[in-house]
């Protein structure tokens, strides 16, 4: 008897802590869809939904990398700047006569290298990831400005711009890239040994080390993933605008972190939800889109998004009942 009572309690606790944030997100999303479709007949058209998916794809790509980093107990503030740097490198390579495919590869390698720099410094020197990635953010932005001389590079071959606005049936490459990476990230995080170690890193790094696992290796890979994801974001932005802007991706790190946290991944590490991240990105995309449709001035958008994020995080924290002074009395 005793045992069964305990089982039920555990299951309830499990449900509330794991599923609740996602349910809440979906609920908020439904309410928003209903409200927006009532206020604007344009909202629920295919063209507009496609628009939302298209715009969200960039955020999804970066936020997937960020999901791994935050699940592992870290943070990566450099992703926006790394996206810009990678885009600029691809552009400079093409300007120098390299073909599109190789230039893209080069840009992705640059993103991976910045991630490797983040991961190595954080892991080997045991320096706080906030500080390290802040430094790499500034360094990447600086390099992007130096390479371009501060002037945007534009005009790329069709092979390159296809990545931003090509067509594959009713979809475009960024959407399909985001969808593919979503599936890949979900499989890797939940089913691979690397995913297990990412979560264990965030849960109890020392326990993982004592179990004989090289925590340096796995930490560095996590940041490399984030760097490559940022570079893919850089590819999308650059190709879409047909311009490599050294200041592209401004504040993109904040949008990614917000989506990841909104999606229910724990800032303390150890718990990560790919589905939650993607839902949150779509929700934020819908919100931005809705605010535009309702012709609310853009500076109110920041305010509204900020309020939603705060509300979501506070509600999730109240539900989990942890770290709240007024609940613990």
């Amino acid at each position: 008897m005793q045992k069964y009572v305990q089982t039920d309690l555990t299951k309830i606790k499990l449900l509330t802590s794991h599923i609740f944030p996602q349910l809440l997100l979906i609920l908020v999303m439904l309410i928003m869809v209903i409200l927006l479709s009532v206020t604007s007949p344009f909202f629920l058209t295919w063209d507009n939904l496609r628009n939302i998916f298209d715009h969200s794809s960039l955020y999804i790509i970066l936020a997937l990398g960020m999901t791994f980093v935050i699940s592992s107990g870290g943070i990566d503030l450099s992703v926006g700047a790394v996206a810009a740097l990678s885009g600029v490198c691809m552009a400079a390579a093409m300007q120098g006569g390299l073909e599109a495919g190789l230039s893209i590869l080069g840009g992705l390698i640059v993103g991976g290298l910045m991630g490797a720099a983040n991961g190595s410094i954080i892991s080997f020197l045991k320096i706080n990831p906030f500080i390290v990635t802040l430094g790499v953010m500034s360094l990447s932005r600086g390099l992007a400005l130096i390479i371009t001389g501060g002037i945007p590079i534009y005009g790329f071959p069709r092979d390159f711009t296809w990545w931003g606005n090509g067509h594959i049936g009713p979809f475009n490459p960024p959407m399909l890239l985001a969808a593919f990476l979503t599936v890949l990230a979900a499989v890797v995080l939940n089913m691979s040994r690397f995913g297990y170690y990412t979560l264990a890193l965030g849960g109890n790094e020392e326990a993982l080390r004592r179990s004989g696992v090289s925590i340096h290796l796995y930490k560095i890979i996590v940041y490399i993933l984030s760097g490559v994801a940022a570079a893919l974001g850089g590819l999308v932005v650059t190709a879409r605008l047909n311009t490599a802007e050294p200041l592209a991706g401004w504040m993109l790190e904040m949008d990614s972190i917000a989506a990841v946290v909104l999606g229910g991944t724990s800032m303390k590490g150890g718990k990560g939800s790919v589905a939650g991240t993607v839902t949150a990105c779509l929700l934020l995309g819908m919100l931005r889109n809705g605010l535009v449709i309702l012709s609310i001035p853009s500076y109110y958008q920041q305010l509204v998004i900020g309020i939603i994020i705060l509300a979501a995080v506070i509600i999730a924290e109240v539900r989990s009942g942890k770290n709240l002074a007024f609940i613990n009395k």
Partner: protein
């Protein structure tokens, strides 16, 4: 002493370790033999946990040598220690709280399917079997360990170390959070591991437990191994005397003991 000594599984010589100004270990020699349960006793801060962390490769000694398998090492690392067959149940248990029971039991040695996917089914099945054999009762192997009781968590840490299939198992206060029934079961398990031929090293503050399962009792005091008894040749009062140092006062006085 005219006893037939077995070949030790591991041999520590002159192990020294300091943390800043604190001398945690001050030249410790210790052999641990297969088929024996060796108990390590001593007061709080005597250096017991530090010593076993050196054996498991979590800490590196400042000085000294570790010999095992016919080789001598200046220090071990966790992967090397596990490779050499040393498994440890740490005092803090070293569990990943947010991960489930099976993931903790297989941490660092997850079985793979198709060389990529973690074989979760097999992990769950084998964890269930193992826990049933150890008579550790938990709601389910898919429960995150943060929801379990102290005794259940200790049971999982014990299960993990056994699952590593080593030759030596170290227990740092394995029964500290357990009730009477649970700790009796774990003690019986530890004794049977010794009988099966494992080299067992156990730290405990409970002398009653120590006397009921050990073959040897080593007393650590202020970072020194002050006495190495065969359990049958001593009694709790004598051991307490060495733990507190009252048996040693004259000796220390003569040496002019240095205080850390």
């Amino acid at each position: 002493m005219l006893q037939v000594e077995k070949d030790p599984f591991i041999r520590l010589r002159n192990i020294k370790k300091t943390f800043g100004h604190v001398v945690a270990l001050d030249g410790v020699d210790l052999d641990v033999c297969p088929g024996e349960v060796t108990a390590l006793v001593g007061d709080n801060g005597a250096g017991k946990s530090t010593l076993i962390k050196i054996i498991s490769g979590v800490l590196y000694p400042d000085e000294g040598e570790i010999s095992l398998n016919g080789k001598t090492y200046r220090h071990l690392t966790p992967p090397v220690a596990i490779e050499l067959g040393i498994s440890t149940v740490y005092q803090d248990l070293a569990l990943v709280d947010c991960r489930d029971v099976a993931s903790n039991i297989f941490l660092g040695r997850e079985p793979l399917k198709a060389r990529f996917f973690v074989d979760k089914k097999r992990m769950n099945r084998e964890s269930e079997e193992l826990l049933r054999k150890l008579k550790v009762s938990i709601p389910s192997v898919t429960t995150p360990v943060e929801f379990l009781s102290g005794g259940q968590r200790q049971g999982i840490a014990v299960a993990r170390s056994i699952n590593q299939q080593g030759k030596m198992i170290i227990f740092d206060e394995p029964t500290a959070a357990m009730g009477v029934g649970e700790s009796a079961r774990v003690l019986k398990l530890i004794r049977s591991l010794g009988d099966e031929g494992f080299a067992v090293l156990i730290i405990s503050h409970n002398l009653h437990h120590v006397f009921s399962i050990s073959d040897r009792i080593c007393v650590l005091r202020n970072g020194r191994l002050v006495k190495d008894f065969r359990t049958e040749n001593t009694n709790p009062d004598q051991v307490v005397g060495f733990i507190t140092g009252s048996n040693q006062r004259t000796e220390e006085f003569r040496k002019g003991s240095t205080k850390a």
